[in-house]
């Protein structure tokens, strides 16, 4: 009969109206600025650079290899390699990015830079409240704005961070062991050759490794 479907529909909306006062399933609004949905661990927005330790300019993991720059689909990363080198967490001297700019007005949050980075240096941040009236300076993230401590990474991607930290501790332990072994071997050679030079050789890797170590554990 004419009107039955209409009445069924009215009953449905009526049920939802009443239900919105009784059943949380029928009132799904999350009042955003005050209430927030839990952020998913995998959620990604824009990249940031991880640094170990306290200071961004010392602990930056990025070695300016420019792989991410090349692989970035929309070409929104701009890197200038440093002239000099700094030791990384294993103590190996590496370049660092003198300029590392990401134009987040172009970035498509595809995470390919993260996937291709062999140094775990670039990761995805979860900050999304970035609206700004400043078109040119507000949206070009420079190295200083991109650098965030490892503790931040651990906070937003705990599973990933734990895995990476573990690996880096292992790597470091291996490197140290190797350095030690090398040093010992050298020391042996040295003692064999000239006993006076031992001390200087053995102490070389230490100062370089110190800041990286802090970061990995913090």
């Amino acid at each position: 009969m004419l009107g039955i479907g209409l009445i069924k529909g009215l009953a449905e909306t009526g049920r939802n109206f009443v239900g919105s006062y009784l059943d949380p399933d029928r009132l799904v609004t999350v009042e955003y600025p005050e209430e927030r949905l839990p952020v998913k661990e995998n959620f990604r927005q824009f990249p940031f650079l991880v640094f170990d330790g306290e200071k961004a300019d010392i602990g930056l993991r990025c070695v300016a290899c420019q792989i991410c720059e090349k692989e970035c689909p929309p070409q929104c990363i701009y890197i200038e390699k440093s002239k000099d080198k700094k030791p990384d967490h294993l103590g190996k001297p590496q370049f660092y990015p003198a300029v590392f700019d990401i134009d987040i007005s172009v970035c498509m949050s595809c995470q390919i830079c993260v996937e291709v980075c062999p140094f775990d240096a670039i990761k995805m941040d979860q900050q999304f409240e970035l609206s700004t009236a400043d078109r040119f300076r507000g949206l070009l993230l420079t190295r200083d704005r991109l650098a965030k401590p490892n503790s931040h990474f651990q906070a937003i991607h705990p599973r990933d961070a734990a895995e990476i930290d573990m690996r880096r501790v292992d790597e470091r332990a291996k490197a140290e062991a190797k350095a030690k072994a090398d040093a010992e071997a050298k020391a042996k050679q040295a003692t064999a050759a000239a006993p006076g030079a031992t001390k200087a050789v053995a102490s070389t890797p230490k100062p370089a490794a110190a800041p990286a170590n802090e970061g990995a554990i913090s």
Partner: protein, 400 residues
């Protein structure tokens, strides 16, 4: 085969019959419509119901459509050109933005084409994940389509809201798995990017278990509504022969009774292992097209249940696949899947370099629009909107 109703008598009856150039000119001789009996209006590119920046130049006699010319290209963002100058991997995030409702099926189609091109194999767990994500995508696409169709019919947002309420639940799953709500960028050549986070499959099961309740509600709200039936039944009748000849695919094709579902025909992925039925319509009108989606959703739920029961542990990426420096040997491949909107195909020509020589997308939305004029002629302006809505287009894919 249902014959044309009186209202659609202006549709050329011989399927695929070529029509003279005059049939395509909107203002023939510049003064054909000057006597004031006909009204020419341009619907779009900014129009509430053209689903984005689509435009239809419509000639009306009163409110009856006499001529309708779709105008494309307002969202032509050069996807193919960009992909041809970027690496194979770099094109993957761009496929997300093709049909931006269904990024995961787009990913799959592209991955399938590249896998055919390079001869990569997909581990079983990854295949299961692909099926699960693709069927979830189909669910959320159809839910939104039904909502938008009602919106086009003038329902003040309620069905759309219900649809989006369910969509959000599925998007939560996508976000937990891939990190993004819409632009998932999840599949890789020879597998998937990452494994499921702990507890994800249980979450999927929860959503799947609750979904039928929503479908029942939705059908209560609308499927038997007299206004909906009056607005859609007998409107925009697509004949079987015309549909085949015009390359219509997906639910629109099946609504006129052609049994052609690539999940069955090609049996790509793991679909031959799942039991599901392909619903078919007999009338090919807007109501059938709408109902096809509703029925397909129920079948998708069945596939999801089977997949969730059977998903094995294992690797998710072919060890042969490479992220960087991927250079398939020269050759070409055409991979196609049954996307929620129809047959989505990727045609790739490799010349051995790191970027595809030719990268072509076969967009179901665009080709389904071939018959838009045939469907709309003789109907009302209000019907053009619902017919367009029932074809289910996404402009990102139409214009690429």
């Amino acid at each position: 085969m249902p014959s044309h109703g009186g209202a659609t008598a202006k549709v050329p009856t011989e399927a695929g019959a070529p029509r003279g150039p005059d049939a395509y000119r909107l203002t023939a001789g510049d003064n054909e419509y000057d006597d004031g009996s006909l009204l020419e209006i341009s619907m779009g590119p900014q129009h509430p119901s053209t689903h984005g920046v689509f435009r239809m130049d419509v000639v009306l006699d009163g409110e009856t459509v006499v001529k309708l010319k779709p105008v494309f290209g307002y969202l032509h963002r050069n996807h193919e050109k960009i992909a041809e100058s970027a690496s194979y991997l770099a094109a993957m995030p761009y496929t997300d933005r093709l049909d931006y409702f269904c990024s995961l099926t787009n990913n799959w189609a592209y991955a399938l084409a590249v896998e055919k091109l390079a001869g990569l194999q997909v581990p079983e767990r990854a295949e299961f994940l692909r099926v699960i994500t693709a069927e979830l995508t189909r669910l959320q696409n159809h839910v939104c389509l039904a909502g938008f169709l009602m919106q086009d019919m003038g329902a003040s947002g309620t069905p759309l809201m219900y649809g989006f309420r369910e969509r959000e639940k599925i998007l939560d799953l996508f976000e937990a798995l891939t990190g993004a709500r819409m632009m998932c960028n999840y599949m890789r050549f020879g597998g998937c990017r990452c494994d499921t986070p702990p507890g994800w499959l249980e979450e999927v099961r929860k959503v799947v278990d609750r979904f039928p309740r929503f479908l029942d509600e939705f059908e209560n709200l609308l499927s038997s509504n007299e206004i909906l039936m009056a607005r859609t039944q007998g409107i925009g009748v697509l004949t079987r022969d015309l549909a085949i000849n015009a390359g219509i695919t997906g639910p629109v094709l099946r609504s006129c009774g052609v049994d052609y579902d690539l999940r069955k025909v090609d049996g790509y992925g793991l679909y031959p292992k799942f039991q599901f039925r392909v619903p078919l319509g007999d009338h090919g009108d807007t109501y059938d097209r709408y109902m096809m989606r509703i029925l397909e959703m129920r079948e998708s739920l069945g596939i999801l249940r089977q997949a969730l029961d059977a998903i094995p542990e294992g690797p998710i990426l072919d060890p042969k696949s490479k992220l960087r420096g991927f250079r398939p040997k020269p050759g070409e491949a055409y991979g196609r899947i049954e996307a929620p909107k129809g047959e989505l195909g990727f045609y790739l020509i490799s010349d051995g370099s790191p970027n595809p020589y030719r990268y072509r997308i076969r967009p179901p939305s665009l080709i389904n629009l071939t018959v838009l004029e045939d469907l709309c002629l003789g109907h009302n302006v209000a019907d053009t909107v619902t017919i367009l809505g029932s074809i289910d287009i996404v402009l990102g894919e139409v214009d690429r």
